[in-house]
Structure formats: structure tokens, C-alpha cells
Symmetry: C2
Subunit: 198 residues, 2 copies
Amino acid sequence: MTDTAEQSRADATRARLLEAAVSAFAERGFHATTTRDIAAAAGLSPAALYVHHKSKEELLYLISRSGHDQVLRLVQDAIASSDDPATALRRVVHDFVVFHARDHTSTRVVNYELAALRPEHLAEIRELRHRIDQAIRQLVEAGVAAGVFDAPDPKVAAAALLSLGIDLGRWYRHDGDWSPEYLATHYAEMALRVVGAR
Amino acid sequence: MTDTAEQSRADATRARLLEAAVSAFAERGFHATTTRDIAAAAGLSPAALYVHHKSKEELLYLISRSGHDQVLRLVQDAIASSDDPATALRRVVHDFVVFHARDHTSTRVVNYELAALRPEHLAEIRELRHRIDQAIRQLVEAGVAAGVFDAPDPKVAAAALLSLGIDLGRWYRHDGDWSPEYLATHYAEMALRVVGAR
DNA sequence: ACGAGGTTACTAAGCGCTTGCTTACGATAC
DNA sequence: GTATCGTAAGCAAGCGCTTAGTAACCTCGT
């Protein structure tokens, strides 16, 4: 019974290995993590990793690819949700921050382990990052052009907004005082101040 | 003639190894850098590293220690430079940003390779980081208490300001469009908006 | 002035261990 | 009885670091 609707045994094991890799890469970094660490965390022998994945680097690529896809979609959806730049920006920053705080373990890997990707994979990921950056930059520029934002240099402001979210992967902890939602609401308000929303 | 006023040959070699380590750690990360990489970049044999330093980790510690010392001093000096919270904050953010942009190679190592430090060294560095965080947090809180800042949650605002500077180590490049000074001036203005300076 | 004796700065060679990954071989389910 | 899913064992390469040695220089008694 190899099904299509449900998840096969192999798919479940594959996913377990990926989750184990996310945790290990986030905690120790890609190069400090061994394939034995990952396999053991998934409850498997070292060799089992290679039954389900081509290489250690492929695990990183799959994690990175998935994370960037999610962020890009999130940003695009938020921007498409309103014609008012201020409303759209509030939603972009809110959702961006919720994602980076809630999934800080994977976003840490996604944002800080790029250098370990093989050149072809890195190029592909860079393209996704560029689209994310451009989407936010264009939103800020559109707000300034429409006269609803007042930012001396919209590109610099956009860079700052990105930093606010991305840096969460470095410092955010779930056992801290701030929930993802709390932080997202406050960060969204700060973002509107940064761009000088009226 | 082993002098006191000038730098001895050994000191110069020691410094060369440190510089080589900063570049290598920043580019590839601590764990992806080999002691052979560092020695070769300093124009020495692999063994020479151990003439001047105890271990690869000690190099990281020295880099980290020096970087954190500089940042702490910079923040303290900026805060002490004015009784007006707005003036002080502008200077703190300005200097903080100039430092992280200008020295983005070393700040990258300083901020993103902490996990590779030995436990005793990590504890010492964490203490320095705590003092930096507290200094900025207290400045924002003082401004709110004095009624010159208007921030819904001063601690969250302080966390955001730190992220703006630290994240530069991840993305800033000297061949980009923005000089450290240009960025610092704009970021300082954004910081004042974030804390709601009147 | 000079060379014996010590010090400094460095290297060639390699040791013991860990790494990513492969190969050859079961066990279990249908 | 044959796919499927997994493992035991181990290989070649590379790692951090050590050991044993050398060349160049400095010191100082004569």
C-alpha cells in the first residue's frame, strides 16, 4: 500500500531527517553539524541519511529553498492585500516578523548558512532573496511616490526594515518575554514610523 | 634589542595571524576555516600558528573580545557625551552603525560565531553583550521617562535599534552604494523616529 | 674583535582522530 | 519472492595540534 493521499513511510523519514537537520544546523551551524548528528537525532543510523538524501548540502538546500519560498509568498500576499501602502506595509512587517520569530530556528539556518551552499544552489537562493528585497523596497518607494510615506532615502529605509525581521533569527527565543504576535504588532508600528507614514 | 616602544617581530606576526583569522572566519565561518588557511594567509607554515597562539578557538576569542570591548566603549562614550536623550541616542546609533559598517568583516565574526567559543569564553563575552544591551535599553527608557521619547515598549524599541546595527555585519559591503557615514546619519534619524523623539 | 652559548622565530613531518559518504548485506511487509 | 527500508563496517581525505629540529640572531667573556 504505497499511497498517494497519505504520506509514505519513506516520506515521513525524509521529513524527520530534515527537521533534525534544521535543529542541528540552527544550534551549531552547518559545518559544526555532522551527518551522524542528524541521523542520530532522527533515530537512524548514519547511512540512513543517504537512503533519503543525496548529501548533507542537499539538506541545507531543501531547508533554504523552502524557507525562502515561504517568505517570498508571505511578502507578496501581504503586499497584494491592500492598495494603501501604509496598510500593506503594516501587514508585510507584521507577517514577516511573526514568521521570523515563530520559525526562528529555521530562519536562522535560512539567513545565516548561505555560504555553505554549493554555487548553483546559492545562485538560485540569491535570486529568491533579491525578489524579496525588491518587493519591500518597491512598496516603500510606492508609498513615498504616493506621498503617504516620508522617508529621506526609501532604499535605506527598506534595508532597515529587512534587518529588523532577519535579525530575529539571531536573538529571538520562545522562552523570552515577547510572543511573535506581540513583537510583530510593535515592529509594524515602528516600521510605519521609520518610513514616515502620515 | 627586544624593544618596548616598537612592536617586536613576534607581535607583528601575531597580529598578522589575527588579521588572517578575521578575514577567513568572516568569509567562510569558524568551522569551515582550517588552521592551514589562516597560516597560509599570514605567509606561514601551519605549525607557526601554534607558536603565537594556543589554539584556533583562542584566535576567535581574541577577535570577539576585542570587538565587544570596542563596541561597549563606543556606546558608553556616546551616552556620556550628552544629557539630552535624543542627542545621545543619535550619537549612539550613528557611531554604532559606522563601526558595524566600516568593520563589517570583524563584526560579522563578533556577532555570528559566538557558538564556537569555549564555554568560559562564551560566558565572558555574553557579559559584555549584556552590558551593551542594557546601556542602550536604559537610554531609551530614560528618554521615555523624561518625556522626550514616545515608545509603546522601550525594551522592544531598544532591541530593534540593536538589530539595525548588528545586521550590517551580514549584508554590508564596501563596494555598495552607501558609505558608513551616509548610512549612519540616515539610521540615526530612523532611530529617533522609532523611539518617537519629539 | 670574535666566537661559544643561548634565545627567538620558524618549519617538516606526521599522529590520532573525525569527517562525508559508499558498499555490501539483512529484515520486514505484501 | 521481491520491493522497500534500513544497517554494519569501513574507506579516503582532511582535521587540529604536537614533536623534533634548524637557521638566524643576540649576548658577553676574553
